[in-house]
């Protein structure tokens, strides 16, 4: 499993864009980059996955540079309800052992 490093916490205000960068220097060729969101007292929720370049869905965008040694989750125009812990995971989709680290606690203020 590739080791990931992400900030422990980030603060933002409503309406701003939040960018969370995850470092994964030893990412392997078959590895995907996956982000989860977890609200208090709930299970993590899969939000986006990518392999290279850019992926966008209704919740977020994921930017992956050519060397794939880092990735950035972008949350556009956040609201108070986006306050959560965000986890970056890197691994092969055939490897069932996920490794959730401490994640990044994002706090959105009014």
């Amino acid at each position: 499993l590739a080791k990931t490093t992400q900030p422990i916490s980030m603060d933002s205000y409503e309406g701003q864009e939040v960018n969370i960068t995850c470092s994964h220097n030893n990412i392997a060729t078959n590895d995907y980059i996956t982000w989860y969101q977890q609200f208090p007292s709930q299970g993590p929720r899969f939000i986006i996955q990518g392999y290279k370049t850019k992926v966008t869905n209704e919740v977020a965008s994921l930017f992956i540079p050519a060397d794939r040694k880092s990735s950035t989750l972008s949350l556009p125009r956040v609201s108070l309800s986006d306050t959560a812990v965000y986890y970056c995971l890197v691994g092969d989709n055939n490897d069932y052992k996920l490794s959730f680290g401490a994640g990044t606690t994002v706090t959105v203020r009014a």
């Binding site: 709930q42 299970g43 899969f46 989709n93 055939n94 490897d95 052992k97 996920l98």
Partner: protein, 113 residues
């Protein structure tokens, strides 16, 4: 939308009791998982199942067993509950080729007194 449900949101049991945690998914997923989440320790995998009656140990299987008699249902069993099994228990499911795209249930907060 994938839906993963767990039998209880909160559960209080006594030391030594046998505890059953049930999980049901409605998306015909082959893979199902049981985790526990503790402050400072993140999510830790207890057991994994990739098919009916098939199971594999995760990182912390001691004190737990599992049962998967039907594809949609995965049960976690605490044979003799102990206070150090007080935790948040999370069930998840995924397609066979999408282990990193797991769908989690709401969790069961188990307290063993």
């Amino acid at each position: 939308d994938v839906k993963v449900t767990q039998s209880s949101r909160y559960l209080v049991k006594r030391t030594g009791e046998k505890v059953f945690l049930e999980c049901v998914q409605d998306m015909d997923h082959e893979n199902m998982f049981w985790y526990r989440q503790d402050p400072g320790l993140g999510l830790r995998l207890i057991y994994f199942s990739y098919d009916v009656k098939m199971k594999e140990k995760g990182d912390i299987p001691e004190g737990y067993s599992v049962s998967r008699e039907k594809k949609e249902r995965f049960s976690l069993i605490l044979e003799s509950a102990s206070t150090n099994q007080t935790s948040m228990y999370l069930c998840a499911s995924s397609r066979p080729w999408g282990a990193y795209e797991q769908y989690f249930g709401p969790g069961t907060r188990l307290t063993v007194t």
